[in-house]
């Protein structure tokens, strides 16, 4: 590949790539993110390439494997353009039919089309799927058009034009101003104004400056950052180069956790491609600006997502946070001024520079601008990655995009912001997605987790789950977080097992306050949120557990009993055969009974019973 030694050569290459792509009559897009790989997209992709070759269509049909589209529960997805015909849950056996019918003749195969679970109607075209139509997919939408390991795909989509604009016609000062005016806030959770951070770093004194991309995403259920880094690594690299130009950095790092192998590889490939084209390295695009990026793999500690712990880990030290009385923009990596931004924040930078701060600021609410990606999971019909404009209400996300509750149950809460966030009840569902609004309601935006819970979830149990997670993931350095979170877990466990007392609720609140004010880092300061928010909105459930020793959702094992309804039981023996603890007795002639002493409330019997005769009391 010839190096791009000037901005004109980048534009020439863009034209050349567009010309090559225009040759193809049909484009077959297959998602190849980690989730789709788990669903078996690779055999489908191989079968598709083979079939296209076998049919002699390789001159007119372009087969592209992209990153994650977000609709992971329907994967593997195959989309055929023009027309945007979408097929879901495709297997390698379906491929010959797709090539013969859809690609050759333009006929839609009904049985592979998507059925909307809300209206029960079949949807043929991608842009008519309700899950997509109600989103604003500025970042995620690009994933669908780009093969992550092909820099030309990114260039064809206008990639690196923001970098060219910044290097060619803007001063570093003007770039910082543009980001400030756009109102972009950090997408990692804190919501700190990105432009302000860049300016502080630019103004700080130091021998060198660094930019870091935080891809150490670790909240249970979240995979926004992974999908962006896997699917469109060049957008993050371009963002980082622009950021480095603005603050005056010469080195950058992408800190990505080792549990994201595809993201590690794709980021590395993208960096090498950019280096080969002289978009990274010395004298970028012939403008005299030098900058390079290195991928560093994190060992998988949740706390290393905290900025100071991440930098300690980068330096080769133990990944523990340090006091942040002096911010990392002044004294960060190696003691030098450092800008650390989340993957999604970096990915927003190129489009702000390309389309202007006003374009970005025109989206969203008064206080929060742009769009935000969420990982929508839990008890809703549609799950996956979604991107919505700031200001969209939780209700729209859960009922319109998510399609409402599953299995005819009733939704009772949504947990936003991961382990550090909180649970919001239905009465708060009209809250807009906005950094301040969610914070004021006792939760937080976080990096974008959104777990929807229905009446089969016990909120005491939910608090217990997150506390156990945080206790494991606390680094253990400071007293309030190490001992305090452990004690919170102890108390909540007592309550869930029927040993709770009313004064323990006051103790929970007092201790939570202490942890939130006295902990060393943000992990500790936000650790009590799951307890505080459930206590605030679901206090009656705590009281039910304490006073009546009852778990209404039937989750807390110590408070429930399994009984067999003899009027429903047909004495088939399935429960006896499946019970791992031999706790069920009975025969054809005598009625069935569960021995409470032996039963562990695992409910394997209830799942096995076709008569639904095993009830939770």
């Amino acid at each position: 590949m010839p190096e791009l030694d000037s901005i004109a050569s980048l534009e020439a290459r863009r034209e050349e790539v567009a010309f090559t792509l225009a040759r193809y009559r049909t484009v077959v897009t297959m998602c190849g993110g980690t989730a789709c790989q788990a669903c078996g997209c690779q055999p489908v992709a191989r079968a598709m390439t083979r079939e296209v070759m076998a049919q002699g269509l390789e001159e007119t049909v372009y087969v592209r494997t992209t990153g994650c589209h977000g609709f992971c529960e329907q994967g593997p997805l195959v989309i055929i353009d023009p027309g945007g015909i979408v097929y879901v849950h495709v297997t390698p056996e379906d491929v010959p039919e797709i090539v013969a019918q859809t690609i050759r003749k333009g006929k839609v195969i009904e049985r592979l089309s998507y059925t909307d679970p809300v209206s029960d109607k079949t949807v043929q075209a991608e842009d008519e799927i309700p899950f997509y139509t109600r989103q604003k997919r500025l970042l995620l939408g690009e994933n669908r058009h780009i093969a992550p390991r092909d820099i030309d795909d990114y260039i064809a989509r206008g990639g690196y034009s923001a970098l060219a604009k910044a290097l060619d016609s803007m001063t570093p000062e003007a770039v910082v101003e543009e980001i400030e005016r756009s109102g972009l806030q950090g997408r990692g959770g804190g919501g700190y104004p990105t432009g302000k951070k860049w300016r502080q770093c630019r103004n700080a004194s130091g021998d060198a400056r660094y930019v870091i991309c935080n891809a150490d995403e670790g909240d249970p259920g979240d995979y926004m950052d992974r999908s962006l880094l896997e699917g469109n690594p060049h957008s993050i690299i371009e963002g980082m180069i622009i950021g480095a130009f603005a603050v005056g950095a010469r080195h950058g790092y992408i800190y990505v956790r080792k549990e994201y192998p595809l993201a590690v590889v794709n980021a590395g490939v993208a960096i090498r491609q950019a280096q080969a084209l002289r978009l990274l390295g010395e004298d970028i695009l012939g403008t005299g600006f030098d900058f390079d990026i290195q991928v560093v793999r994190g060992g998988g500690a949740f706390v290393c997502g905290e900025s100071t712990a991440l930098m300690a880990s980068l330096e080769g030290k133990v990944g523990e946070p340090r006091p942040k009385d002096i911010h990392t923009v002044e004294r960060g990596y190696l003691g030098q001024p450092t800008v650390l931004n989340n993957v999604e924040t970096w990915a927003n930078v190129p489009s702000i520079i390309r389309h202007g701060a006003d374009w970005f600021a025109s989206q969203g609410t008064e206080r929060s601008k742009g769009t935000k990606i969420f990982a929508l999971t839990g008890q809703v019909k549609n799950t996956g990655l979604i991107e919505v404009e700031m200001g969209t209400t939780l209700r729209e996300i859960i009922y319109d995009i998510g399609g409402g509750p599953k299995n005819g149950r009733e939704i009772k809460a949504v947990q936003t912001g991961g382990p550090s966030g909180g649970c919001l009840p239905t009465s708060q569902f009209d809250l807009p997605v906005d950094f301040d609004a969610l914070y004021e309601a006792g939760s937080m935006m976080g990096s974008g987790g959104m777990v929807v819970m229905d009446d089969s979830s016990c909120m005491v149990d939910v608090a217990k789950y997150f506390l156990a997670f945080l206790q494991d993931e606390s680094c253990g350095k400071c007293t309030p977080c190490r001992l305090g979170v452990g004690r919170l877990l102890e108390i909540v466990t007592d309550i869930s097992e029927g040993r709770g007392s009313l004064d323990q609720l006051d103790l929970l609140e007092d201790l939570s306050w202490t942890i939130s004010v006295a902990s060393l880092c943000a992990l500790g300061k936000t650790a009590p949120n799951p307890v505080l928010s459930t206590l605030k909105y679901f206090r009656d459930e705590y009281l039910d557990h304490i006073e009546n020793k009852r778990c209404a959702a039937g989750v807390c094992r110590a408070l429930i009993r399994l009984v067999i309804d003899s009027t429903l039981c047909d004495r088939c023996g399935k429960c006896i055969a499946n019970c791992p603890h031999k706790a069920i007795t009975g025969s054809r002639d005598t009625s069935y009974a569960i021995d409470d002493e032996l039963c562990t409330r695992c409910r394997i019997c209830a799942d096995a019973c076709e008569q639904h005769a095993i009830l939770v009391r």
Binding site: D325, D472, G484, T514
Partner: protein, 213 residues
């Protein structure tokens, strides 16, 4: 030379230098901020959080550990306000529940009027304050002792748990707060902070909290 500046701790003006350690400056000025993991001869870590204080900056108040706070001109620190005392008492209560038999923790609790421990008591011989680790690295210059594990599994230890990495210099032992014991003498006044509590036998006229620092 760092600039001489003035900071205010509990409304008392203290002359110190730019970037100086606030806990150290307060202790020198006779304002005894209770502390536990702090050692003047090593880099402070801010792990135990006992020396928690409120600091006012840009019109906002936040809590932080005094030992890791760097002094700035005109800084306003409150070491004994109501929220600070509440947080500090709760922290000491958490520590005391880990090692209820420790004389030093008992003395600290008494000084802060922590009378009730609301948690089940454990009988640990270590509260993971990290003094030994810091002493091994910075006083003995060995760097053998370290913290191992995360969260509830965190514990101190030698590399691969092998005794051969220890030179037995005892610098760690001498600084372990659970090994120190304050005096039973009451009614004496500490020469540094004026506290009547927790006098120490080993060094007369200096109280438990001050000798710890």
């Amino acid at each position: 030379m760092p600039e001489p500046i003035t900071i205010f701790v509990d409304d008392i003006a203290i002359e110190t230098t730019e970037g100086a350690n606030v806990l150290d400056a307060a202790l020198r000025a006779g304002i005894c901020i209770p502390n536990l993991c702090y050692l003047p001869e090593v880099t402070p870590t801010g792990a135990c959080r006992v020396c928690i204080v409120e600091v006012e900056r840009h019109g906002r108040t936040k809590m932080t550990a005094a030992c890791t706070l760097e002094a700035r001109e005109g800084m306003i620190v409150r070491a004994h306000s109501e929220p600070v005392l509440r947080a500090r008492r709760n922290i000491v209560e958490l520590l005391l529940a880990e090692a209820p038999e420790s004389p030093v923790l008992q003395a600290l609790a008494e000084r802060l009027s922590v009378t009730d421990v609301r948690y089940s008591r454990r009988d640990r011989d270590c509260i993971l304050c990290g003094r030994c680790v810091a002493a091994c690295a910075e006083v003995a210059k060995q760097g053998s002792l370290g913290m191992i594990g995360r969260g509830a599994n965190r514990h101190k230890g030698l590399p691969f748990y092998k005794e051969e990495y220890c030179t037995q210099c005892n610098e760690c032992h001498d600084r372990c707060p659970l090994e120190l014991s304050p005096s039973g003498r009451r009614g004496d006044h500490c020469g540094v902070c004026g506290s009547e509590l927790s006098m120490n036998d080993a060094i007369p006229d200096i109280c438990e909290d001050c000798v710890l620092s």
